[in-house]
């Protein structure tokens, strides 16, 4: 955190000054470790074993926050007797189909859920392979899984029923002991005990513990389940929805949260509404019935979606044409960025827009990225400088090796210079869901334009060219609401006008809350969770009341979605009766005299819903949630310790080894890696699963304070290039001795994909780990460099293969295996020969 989010880390330092214990779990020692009370190195790719053991520690001691757990989680829910755990099936859950490598979730349901849900919906769910498609998983992850999770399952509040979630968890995690942690993670039992005791002692009525993570948790073939394990632990300890608690995703880019909320992601529409699938949904009603929960706030999905369709297609969207629902293109599976690259290599994807992104350096398996770029008909790159993804036809490493040559690359390339953040108006959404408006200070230079300008004027040009078309496929383009006012020297579309459309309008003007949205076409809203960012017609995101003139929550700085709430699910900061759990942790509570929720934040609850409210049996949407149900997006209002539906790879997290590992899975020797991970077994994506001594070391990639991701915004800046001028690798003194590496000299790192060179940094910051009898060496590789800019070097991501998390299709970039040898890498075709010789020795065939 101190490395990659340095200014955010000041709050950790503040907490430490007030007595907080800071524990840093990371394979390498960083600036964060330097300021932590305890640095705990662990083997990259082993975190589920570590977190699972913390869960086991809590469960075996019954150290959970029992009142919170019983009232606010699904610990008491009783599962169907069809559910069988990985512990009883040697590493897979019930419902596994080895032929398709996917799960059916029917056996993961609550007891009696099948009677409670509409069979039609469930059949549609199953037809999709139950969450094996990313869109499905995210919809359910937001609590939108229809029909699958009964709003009111049978419960045993004594938590003793053998099939209640609490007991199922206990059995599932029973083997996650400190001894297993030592064998899997390389953390000794004494250190583990110290961490477990600190976390438990710091949780409860008076205290809360927070977890902070970044892509060290997400970039794995089990990434979503890493976060799930932390969620289980935090729910058991009562650390969700409370001040000082939570699981914070430290996101790495100025508006990466915004890019997820208003998604440029294939599987989502704005506000986490799933994109429709071709084979599942016929019309809008069928789509909503299959995807939206009937209970909880997803019960209003129809209103959110109709309002979105109205904001896109305006008066053309009418009740008699299903609100233009048919204008939406349909998905048929995985259309993620890695599938797209395979499509480029195979020739089906012919055109590509790269807008502020440099996959030739920043994405896994750089060679495949570049071969894809070289096989396009046309490519548009928008950036500040000529990044590697724009110049691959001149200087890709594959030109040196002879795999590509400039004269035979047919890609037509357009490079369009981009405006910087001070040359345009607009909002970024930061890592805590805070929208902040940035004002335009100057005009962009030369041909540089904002991306808002680009998309608006591209749309106008396309619509001009299609004008008069009677082809039905052009209707969605011609019907589009695309008439934003322009301003300034370059006819920039007004960002305020676009934000106003995102916020939405009703019959009486700008909307102020998503609760105003209707499904009758009377409201328009481009992203329902952002509704209210221009409440009362005022740009709330531009508010800048100084922090020192406000409460510590600072509600008048910017605007946080939803409804300017700063802590999600904050109803859980009060006990079931609505009183603060303790004075020290007072945040949002029920004011019995005023009969409403009040406190330091906007309550994440209906403002006047009495804690004593119990829903009638036929209630829907939020009316179906009781006054003690804080998790209002879930169909049952509870935090899910066990996930009955929506995850592709199981209702509980299980330790699997990374797709490439130096170890046989100690937990399930016959089940090495996540059995449903997304794989691309093809000759150009060779993977070395495990075994042998050809690739004996673990490597992990990371960022440095002085650079930014693939370098497009940092390697060209003299200040930053000077601070970190060159690619390097971090190795321990022991590994340096074992391999003859010299500090300051060169090393070559080899994987089945390629070999790269780096300067050697021999440092005690990387410690060899002892896993029982085995010693595991890890190598640290920053991934910022490429061939262009001021500071240059080989790209670490070239080393990676492509295997993905099956829920979210994120690549496993944080744990893989390699060899390291002294000296620079060979040049030209000899590089290919070296890599091939390694593959041959490892027995990796040409079929991958």
């Amino acid at each position: 955190m101190a490395e990659c989010h340095p200014v955010g880390f000041q709050w950790v330092v503040e907490a430490k000054k007030r007595g907080a214990t800071v524990i840093h779990v990371d394979p390498r020692f960083t600036r964060t470790s330097a300021l932590a009370d305890l640095h705990v190195p662990l083997r990259a790719g082993s975190d589920i074993a570590f977190l699972g053991a913390l869960v086991n520690h809590v469960l075996t001691r019954e150290a959970d926050f029992r009142e919170y757990v019983v009232a606010y989680t699904n610990a008491a829910a009783i599962l169907s007797d069809e559910f069988v755990d990985t512990e009883d099936l040697a590493g897979v859950f019930s419902g596994y189909d080895p032929d398709t490598g996917s799960y059916s979730a029917t056996s993961w349901q609550y007891e009696g859920a099948s009677e409670a849900s509409a069979a039609g919906s469930r059949d549609q769910w199953d037809e999709a392979g139950v969450g094996h498609e990313a869109g499905r998983a995210e919809a359910a992850g937001s609590g939108g899984a229809a029909g699958a999770a009964s709003a009111r399952p049978e419960r045993d509040e004594t938590l003793t029923h053998p099939r209640c979630v609490y007991q199922v968890l206990k059995r599932h995690f029973a083997r996650y002991t400190p001894e297993l942690v030592e064998r899997v993670c390389g953390i000794d039992p004494r250190t583990f005990a110290r961490i477990a005791e600190a976390v438990v002692a710091n949780s409860g009525r008076d205290r809360t513990t927070a977890f902070v993570y970044s892509v060290g948790w997400t970039q794995h073939t089990v990434g979503a389940q890493y976060i799930r394990t932390a969620s289980i632990l935090q729910l058991l300890l009562g650390n969700i929805g409370r001040p000082g608690g939570g699981i914070m995703a430290l996101r790495g880019h100025a508006s990466i949260q915004g890019s997820t909320d208003i998604p440029t992601l294939f599987n989502l529409l704005p506000g986490y509404i799933p994109m429709p699938h071709a084979h599942q949904h016929e019309d809008l009603d069928a789509f909503v019935a299959a995807d939206a929960g009937r209970t909880g706030y997803w019960g209003h999905m129809r209103a959110y979606l109709v309002s979105l369709l109205k904001s896109w297609w305006g008066d053309a969207a009418r009740e008699d044409n299903d609100w233009c629902f048919g204008h939406l293109p349909r998905l048929t599976g995985d259309h993620g960025t890695y599938s797209t690259v395979m499509g480029q290599v195979d020739g089906s994807v012919k055109g590509y827009f790269l807008v502020g992104e440099n996959p030739a350096v920043g994405s896994a398996h750089g060679k495949l990225q570049r071969l894809g770029l070289a096989n396009l008909d046309w490519l548009v790159v928008r950036d500040f400088s000529l990044i590697e993804s724009a110049t691959f036809w001149q200087n890709a490493p594959e030109i040196e090796t002879g795999e590509l040559s400039t004269e035979t690359i047919g890609t037509e390339v357009f490079f369009l210079p981009a405006a910087s953040h001070v040359e345009k108006d607009g909002t970024f959404t930061n890592t805590q869901r805070l929208l902040q408006w940035h004002h335009k200070a100057i005009e962009p230079p030369g041909d540089a334009r904002s991306d808002l300008w680009f998309f608006y004027h591209l749309g106008r040009a396309i619509r001009r060219k299609l004008a008069g078309s009677t082809d039905p496929r052009d209707r969605p383009v011609l019907d589009l609401v695309w008439d934003y006012p322009t301003e300034g020297r370059y006819d920039d579309p007004s960002a305020e006008a676009v934000l106003a459309e995102i916020n939405g309008f009703g019959p009486d003007g700008p909307l102020s809350s998503y609760t105003q949205l209707r499904d009758d076409g009377s409201t328009r809203c481009g992203c329902w969770i952002y509704c209210g960012c221009r409440a009362d017609g005022v740009n709330q995101t531009a508010r800048r009341k100084p922090g020192h003139e406000q409460s510590w929550v600072a509600p008048e700085w910017g605007w946080a979605w939803p409804a300017n709430r700063r802590i999600l699910y904050n109803r859980a900061s009060a006990d079931p009766d609505g009183n603060p759990w303790s004075e020290r942790k007072r945040y949002v509570w029920w004011d019995a005299d005023e009969r409403r929720w009040t406190g330091a934040d906007v309550p994440d609850f209906e403002p006047t819903k009495d804690p004593a409210y119990r829903p009638p049996p036929d209630a829907t949407a939020e009316d179906a949630l009781a006054g003690v149900d804080p998790f209002i997006m879930q169909t049952d209002g509870k935090g899910w310790l066990f996930v009955p539906t929506g995850l592709a790879d199981g209702p509980l997290p299980t330790h699997y080894e990374p797709a490439e590992s130096v170890l046989r899975n100690p937990l399930y020797p016959t089940r090495q890696s996540n059995p449903v991970r997304q794989r691309y077994p093809r000759p150009d994506n060779p993977i070395h699963q495990f075994g042998g001594d050809v690739y004996p070391y673990v490597f992990t990639t990371y960022r440095l304070t002085e650079h930014h991701t693939a370098g497009g915004m940092s390697r060209t800046l003299p200040y930053l290039a000077e601070l970190q001028p060159e690619m390097f690798c971090e190795v321990s003194p022991a590994l340096a001795a074992e391999r003859g590496l010299t500090h300051g000299g060169w090393a070559t790192v080899v994987t089945p994909r390629t070999a790269i060179e780096a300067r050697v940094l021999v440092t005690a910051r990387i410690r060899p780990l002892r896993l029982g009898d085995t010693t595991v060496h890890q190598i640290g590789l920053p991934y910022h460099w490429g061939s262009n800019g001021i500071a240059t070097g080989d790209a670490a991501n070239d080393l990676l293969g492509i295997e993905l998390d099956p829920n979210v299709y994120i690549q496993e970039a944080k744990a893989a295996t390699c060899d390291i040898r002294p000296g620079r890498r060979p040049r030209g075709p000899e590089l290919l020969a070296l890599v091939r010789a390694y593959r041959r020795r490892a027995g990796i065939g040409e079929d991958g």
């Binding site: 989010h5 200014v7 992104e357 808002l452 998309f455 200040y719």
Partner: protein
């Protein structure tokens, strides 16, 4: 007099024994003015690097950015910026920044110049041609697809929300579904 003006004497004789205040000042330093004081405008902004969202104050003089500082009013950052945020002025003023359109024709060996309007028109033509060639009305079972897999988008996560909104809206209307972002990565 010149001799008596030596800073070391002021340091030894005066109250500023460590030479970090008045003793170190000269007439020249007294005459200097910070760029931040002579700016025509101070514009409120947000750092474009990581997702902490530190407040920035952008100082502008004669239509150019002269300095970018942390915004002490921000309850997020309290005026701090990290090395990247502190260097962000160079993102704007860096002389290596490319400010004209570049074009590489198929099989070409060099960049060529191209007018922005022409480039936009050519890109619109490419989109429509690829869309036409790769359009899918239905799949083999007759289910409606209404889409093209012929072109794709990958965006960085420094785009504004408004920009992502227009991108998603336009691509979806065109039937392009392979619309992706750094957020996947």
């Amino acid at each position: 007099m010149t001799f008596l003006g030596w800073p070391v004497l002021r340091q030894l004789a005066g109250a500023d024994r460590l030479g970090r205040g008045a003793a170190a000042r000269s007439r020249r330093t007294d005459g200097l003015t910070a760029r931040t004081e002579t700016a025509d405008a101070v514009v409120r902004s947000v750092c474009p690097y990581c997702a902490v969202g530190c407040g920035q104050r952008v100082y502008v003089k004669d239509g150019a950015v002269t300095q970018i500082e942390g915004d002490p009013d921000s309850p997020v950052s309290r005026g701090r910026l990290c090395p990247k945020g502190s260097a962000s002025k160079q993102l704007v003023t860096n002389p290596d920044r490319v400010t004209t359109v570049r074009y590489r024709r198929p099989y070409g060996t060099e960049w060529e110049e191209l007018d922005l309007d022409t480039a936009m028109d050519m890109i619109a033509d490419r989109v429509l041609a690829t869309r036409r060639e790769t359009w899918q009305d239905t799949d083999s079972d007759g289910r409606v697809l209404n889409r093209t897999l012929g072109f794709a988008h990958l965006g960085g996560a420094t785009l504004d929300n408004e920009e992502n909104y227009l991108a998603k809206k336009l691509y979806t209307a065109l039937g392009a579904i392979q619309v992706e972002n750094q957020a996947r990565i």
